[in-house]
Amino acid sequence: MNFFFSFKNNFIQSRLTIPRFNNSGQYQNSLKVFEAKADSNLWKINEINCDFNENFYFIDESLTNNDSIFFLAKEENIELIKKNNYSKLVCFNNFTSTHPVEYRSNLKVTVFGGGFSSYQSDYPFSMIGKKGSILSPLSNLLNKKSDKNIILIKNIYEEPIHEAFNLYFVDLIAKKVLRKDKILTNFTNEIIVDPGLIEPNIYIFTDKYLGIPIYLSIKSNHISFEHTHPPHHYILSNDKFKKVSEIKKEVHEIINSQSI
């Protein structure tokens, strides 16, 4: 099962388009869009009354914020989370569990009076119970010469908590931490990036939770919006987790060697 999410700030409009069909063209028209939001250590679940047609649900920014996540479900599926007293997200149904291509929504951002950019977006249920760290390069999707460079870090964790964790900007050659930010679980975190940090040897790294890093760059009202893959995506052989874990250990050591 996949969750979907959006983003809101004061100079970008967002729109989430959730398909009612999977990639191979199967529909399940009885599924509706629900919103989940962590509030006072409970998941608050509401059905969303949004625009729709026979193929898509449309969630504009009036219906979203940086806390909310969305999913497709039937009303009776919501009973599953009632059983655990709204204390933990559950797999509500498997319609959005597709392979090899993930079931995706389209998350589109638009600069007021300017350009637009989107990517096919999802947050897999398999990620929400895991802790770990993000390691992602800055220079692949940001642009030193842009007017604005922003990283969005979306975390969804199964427990309804807003826990702070650390985001580091690490120079892997100089072995230095250049910046540290606090970000939150169950939130779309927005981080403005100084152009000086956009170098091939500088990576972002989180110390406790996973998430999806999405890179947004704006220049002369044109905009680019895309996510990076987790490092293990680039290794197909059985040593993938060993190799990624070795690199993450090195980054941990850089962080631990400095008092930030």
Binding site: F56, L141, E226, H229, L236, K243, I247
Partner: protein
């Protein structure tokens, strides 16, 4: 007995019949028991219509295996799968970028694909996949970035076993792939399609017939159609989508 069947199932002929008859098909014809293999997505370049393509990539062998002497070979093909040029990059620590414009391609204003292979004299006993990032810039505007999305070729680290067409193909033209987005309110939409299979594929896009030989590419303008419904005999015919409105573009994988 079970392991005998499993082994037969994974032989070359077994995979051929699995894909032919759509019984637990393999989407990519890769042998995961292989090693020292560099797999590349098919990266769609374009220099037509005042486009430039910016490729941003990571030296995976150095990043993951500390192989500072490793090299990167990038091989360019035109839309008819004719080899255009080959370049080799050395001494890349982490990431680098390459601007593909008509000057880089000796005046060619067209489109096609390229592949990136990591080369090394060392044996790392691994399989790596490069699916890094392409930025499409029209009229010198900020590139709209998209990551690679379909494996299409492989070579060993020594560079002596180049294979194309690793995309799985069915006997039947019944593989439906619908892009999960609507194109309402755009001036027009283009789909960038590449054949990742070893043989010719035939496909329909919104009921219009097309065919592509192995390794060939096509830009299909679907005008103001609101959806893209692709039916083919390729298991994963997954386009890059470019939406246009006014002076702005948005590129993403479908």
């Amino acid at each position: 007995m079970k392991s005998l069947i499993r082994n037969l199932f994974n032989t070359k002929i077994g995979v051929f019949f699995r894909n032919f008859f759509e019984v637990r098909p393999k989407y990519f014809l890769l042998d995961f028991n292989d090693s020292n293999l560099s797999v590349s997505d098919a990266f769609f370049w374009r220099t037509d219509s005042n486009y430039k393509t910016l490729f941003k990539f990571t030296n995976l062998l150095n990043f993951f295996y500390k192989d500072k002497e490793s090299k990167i070979e990038i091989v360019f093909y035109d839309k008819n799968n004719k080899l255009l040029k080959k370049i080799v990059k050395e001494k890349i620590l982490f990431s680098d970028q390459l601007l593909i414009d008509k000057f880089f391609l000796e005046g060619i204003e067209d489109y096609g694909v390229f592949y990136i292979f990591h080369k090394s004299e060392k044996l790392h006993n691994s399989i790596i996949r490069n699916s890094c990032y392409l930025g499409y810039s029209q009229n010198n505007n900020l590139p709209s970035f998209v990551h690679g999305n379909v494996c299409a070729s492989s070579n060993n680290f020594a560079g002596s076993n180049l294979k194309f067409g690793i995309g799985g193909k069915s006997f039947f033209k019944n593989q439906k792939y619908i892009v999960q987005n609507n194109f309402y309110n755009y001036d027009r939409t283009e789909l960038l399609i590449h054949n990742p299979c070893a043989k010719k594929i035939t496909f329909l896009i919104n009921d219009v017939n097309f065919e592509l030989n192995s390794g060939c590419s096509k830009i299909v303008d679907i005008a103001t159609k609101k959806m893209a419904i692709i039916v083919s005999n390729c298991y994963l015919l997954r386009p890059i989508v470019i939406n246009y409105k006014s002076d702005f573009i948005d590129a993403y994988h479908g």
